[in-house]
Amino acid sequence: MKGAALLAILSHWRRHPLQLATLIAGLALAAGLWSAVQAINAEARASYARAAEQLGTAGLARLIPETGSIPIARYAELRRSGWRLAPVLEGVVSFDRQSFDIMGVDLLQHPQAPALAEAAEAESSTPLEALRPPGRIFAHSETAALLSEAQQTHPVTRLAALPRGIAMADLSLASQLLRRPDSLSYLLVLPEQTPGLAPLAELAPELTHLPARAAASDTGRLTDSFHLNLTAFGLLSFAVGLFIVQGTIALSLEQRRGMIRTLRSLGVPMRLLSGLFIAELAAIALAAGIAGLAGGYLVAAALLPGVNATLAGLYGASVDGSLSLRPGWVFSGLAMTLGGAFLAGAQSLFALWRLPILAAPATLARGQQASRSHMFSAFCGAASIAAGLIVLYFFQGLVAGFAFLGALMLGAALLLPLLISAGLSVGARMAKGALAEWLWADTRAQLPGMSLALMALLLALAANIGVGTMVSSFRLTFTGWLDQRLFAEVYVTATSDAQGAELAHWLEAQGITVLSRRYHDTRFKGAPLRVYGFEDDEAYRSNWPLLDASPDVWDQTASGKALLINEQLARRHKLAPGSILEIKPGWRLPVAGVYSDYGNPNGQAMVSLPALQKHVPSLPNRNFGLRADPQEITGLIKLIRQEFDFPRENITDQATVKTRSLAVFDRTFVITAALNLLTLGVAGFALLTSLLTLWSQRLPQLAPVWAMGVTRRQLAAAEVLRSLILAAGTAVLALPLGLVLAWVLLSVINVAAFGWKLPMYLFPLDWLRLFMLALLAAVIAAALPAWRLSRIDPADLLKVFANER
């Protein structure tokens, strides 16, 4: 009996292959985008973890200085108290105009030492040579190649186990390169400690103890927000995919009601039937899940470079390696697909379970029943939005921001049917002509079957508007900010401090204003802080993008009595003009102003150059900004090149710097644009499948109209129009939703994720483009059903009138 019943159930798909294809495609899409995002996240996380592991510091806690750095005398004291600690000094070094992240370690203490020693021995050097001049740099072979090219002074040892981009060296070399002979960035707490030592908190109250898990991936923490972002996108796509599937599952069961009744009257128990349907759905979901995973893998592989660009652009974090299948996202993807399929099919399966043997064919919910369900859905939507607002009001931060966004999007989606329905009745009232009236009324009648697809479209459009507005606002702000920040006409980087001094001297002799840009890297409350020393110049006073300032900000700062900090530092540590900041132990200055500093994940401060020089001797002096008449720029550059022998890249004019910065910016948001387009595509597909799903239910409504003399072509046109009306209505409603979304992204999410708040700009042309895109999607979605309708055999329409229906 089981076999026979199963065959009967499955025979449905032979007659409805398109339906099966839709079902599988919908589920596969949902699974695909979700697992693509998960794959990307897993890859990035694994990459961060690998980096920590490769540095040998994976399971180790850290001691991080609250201010600046740790003096080595302090390190010695802590060692002498018995704690086994390994010192680390981090910084950036330029060789031949290329920057490298240097990680200085005590080769005698660092956990990674055995691997380094082995690598050195493999190159027939003794590990101890790395402790003596000229030292030795250890790096991943890619980085090593760059290093060997950029400098020849220090031999470079290739070590595949090190993360890309990091140059590891003994502290004897690193402290010299970084010009930090007496200070350390942080201390690793080594695994084996003798018992009975005084607690670190007591011995070193000025150092923050970062537990192993938190310390393990600095990058991981920094980029969490980005990954949360991706996950939100993935979830959105997944939900949209389920919208597609829900209708199809419902229809496939609906169409088999007759068969179910027959089978039941033939004595097949309901329990068995339900089991068979569940098994069928599970099998389809599994097949779709596997297809989706394959697709997801491809999508992820295609997106990964974009993700890398984004991460590099926003956080300076690098994700290396190619994509690999990880059980984590593979199984979660399959589980999500199965769960999603049952979630989408739950209502239909439940209805099936309760189907009486002799039920009349189902009719679509329409009229009052439909409007009652619209009201209920709208009520839930309003409640959801209210809940989101409450969360946003009472909680701060990234998760609250995303929770609000989720609630807002869900709420708006639930409100949609009521709003569209109201819009359609207005349309119907204003319609002239019988056909138009019928069209509006019929569109409204179709709403229940379309509303899930429309919700998907609404979400996709709103996400597009929101994210698009965010990115465009960011770009506009960023461009304006670049104009302010990059006020010097020419930027020059000398190859050495000596050359720098010579250059500055020569330029001044030429009567050119030289603004040297010198900085000192330190740490503030455990996070990197770069302190710039600037020379007082009118240009700063008139250009620098201050967001908040005390009255005589420039006089105070220029005289060394105060400092300026960037917005991220201000927000992260709740600093404002008037707050006191300790740059180095014993050097405390009040904040006089806060300036915007987009695209920089780290804290930054500006003090007057003489003050910085006083506290930090031997600052590197290689970067200069030159003021020049715009017409003279080319000549000036040529002159400098003639006079000084340095590489072409070391002199850039303002325009080039701006172009490059914007290029980096644009690369940063490649992934966002790609995901946006994908979501919109999925929504378009949802529209198509719901129209196809409605197709067979549409004929009984179309046949009488056709019999009254409306041609099939007119009906087809009406079909497209209907889709257009719905898409247009949805797009109109998506606009305010998208703008709210943009506002939350700019004012809540960005602040929490990056530490800067951005003004919001409106881009009506983008909206128009998106509106057209939505209409295009609607036309494409309606094209197939319309085409089928225009060429339908009258006999198929006449079947509607057959009495024995």
């Binding site: 080769l107 030492a113 402790l131 003994d170 502290l171 018992p195």
Partner: protein, 349 residues
């Protein structure tokens, strides 16, 4: 964990045999390290401190102790210095590398620990005013610049100790007024000892703390080339007899014949270098120590002094499984003289 690095660091301390010969006359070797000279006269307190012109140096203290429970214990506290280049520099540029070993030995347990450090940053070092030698929280400290009265501490994962040592006799210059020849071809070191310490203090062992008293022996030695090319290791004895006399003797095992030397210290502290070959030691019994065959039972003799004794390891498994590994442990002496002492055996691979 840092096995490789430390191994190489240790190899610098122990196996400088590869250094070319023949620079002795110039006073420095090829890399600029000073060479021990027979006419050097040791001066104190300066020579308690470090000699950074020499490649290697150590502060080596062992003690035979008796617990309040009547059981025998031995402790070791050693600070090695090894230089990558002569001289000292500030901070991470310092060429000095420090390594320390500490151990506690009982009849059936041998607990040990190791520490390693850079010079220049203060994690390890030796200073003379007042005297202090340290690495991390292990230290040997005096209240003044002499070594008359010192405190000693070290700790490992399973043990720690805190001891006070009081000298009961004068410093002893080994070899020829502190110039100790190590091979027939002339390798030598500067070497003096304080073998007369009265020790009291506390050991902390896995079973709990225990008060101890006993006798300690400090060796100070520095050089740039202690072993000859053909020498593979040594067996070194420091013995304190119940009569109050003391014997330091060593055998440097070489492919071209063993080189033995020693010092006889009479009860009043007068030192008398033994003629080459006057000290003899033969293994009596071999133990399996961590897969190696090692003599943990010896016969030693100094016919001139009427010494003919058997030397028995308190714990034959006194293996220092540190990055450079060797055997070091307390021994009991019976025979013509009875007493206690320490035995060190290196180069058994």
């Amino acid at each position: 964990m840092n096995a490789n690095i430390i191994l190489v660091a240790s190899s610098l301390i122990w196996a400088t045999a590869v250094q070319p010969q023949g620079y002795a006359g110039l006073g420095t070797d090829a890399e600029g390290f000073a060479i021990p000279k027979p006419d050097t006269r040791l001066t104190f307190p300066a020579d308690h401190g470090l000699h950074s012109d020499f490649r290697i140096e150590w502060w080596y203290l062992t003690a035979n102790l008796e617990g309040a429970d009547g059981a025998d214990y031995g402790i070791q506290w050693t600070l090695f210095r090894s230089a990558l280049a002569p001289g000292e520099a500030a901070g991470w540029q310092s060429p000095q590398i420090w390594m320390a070993h500490a151990a506690v030995t009982t009849k059936d347990k041998h607990l040990f620990a190791e520490r390693i450090a850079r010079g220049g940053v203060g994690q390890a070092g030796v200073q003379t005013h007042p005297f202090s030698a340290w690495i991390d929280n292990w230290q040997m400290r005096s209240a003044d610049e002499t070594l008359e009265e010192i405190s000693l501490s070290a700790s490992g994962m399973e043990f720690s100790y805190d001891l006070n040592l009081m000298a009961d006799g004068p410093l002893v210059l080994q070899g020829n007024a502190g110039y100790s020849v190590k091979s027939a071809s002339g390798q030598a070191s500067h070497y003096y000892s304080q073998p007369h310490y009265m020790v009291s203090g506390t050991l902390s062992l896995p079973d709990g703390p225990i008060d101890v008293t006993g006798h300690g022996w400090l060796d100070r030695e520095w050089s740039s080339q202690p072993l000859a090319e053909d020498q593979s290791g040594w067996d070194w004895f420091s013995l304190s007899f119940d009569s109050g006399e003391k014997l330091m003797g060593f055998v440097l095992r070489g492919a071209r014949g063993d080189f033995t030397s020693g010092t006889w210290i009479s009860a009043d502290g007068t030192a008398e270098p033994l003629a080459p070959g006057a000290f003899q030691a033969q293994p009596l019994n071999i133990s399996d120590v961590q897969g190696r065959e090692m003599p943990t039972h010896w016969h030693a003799s100094v016919p001139d002094k009427g010494v003919s004794v058997e030397i028995l390891a308190l714990n034959p498994q006194s293996w220092m499984g540190t990055s450079f590994s060797y055997w070091e442990g307390p021994v009991a002496v019976i025979g013509s003289h009875s007493g206690k002492g320490y035995l060190e055996m290196t180069g058994y691979e």
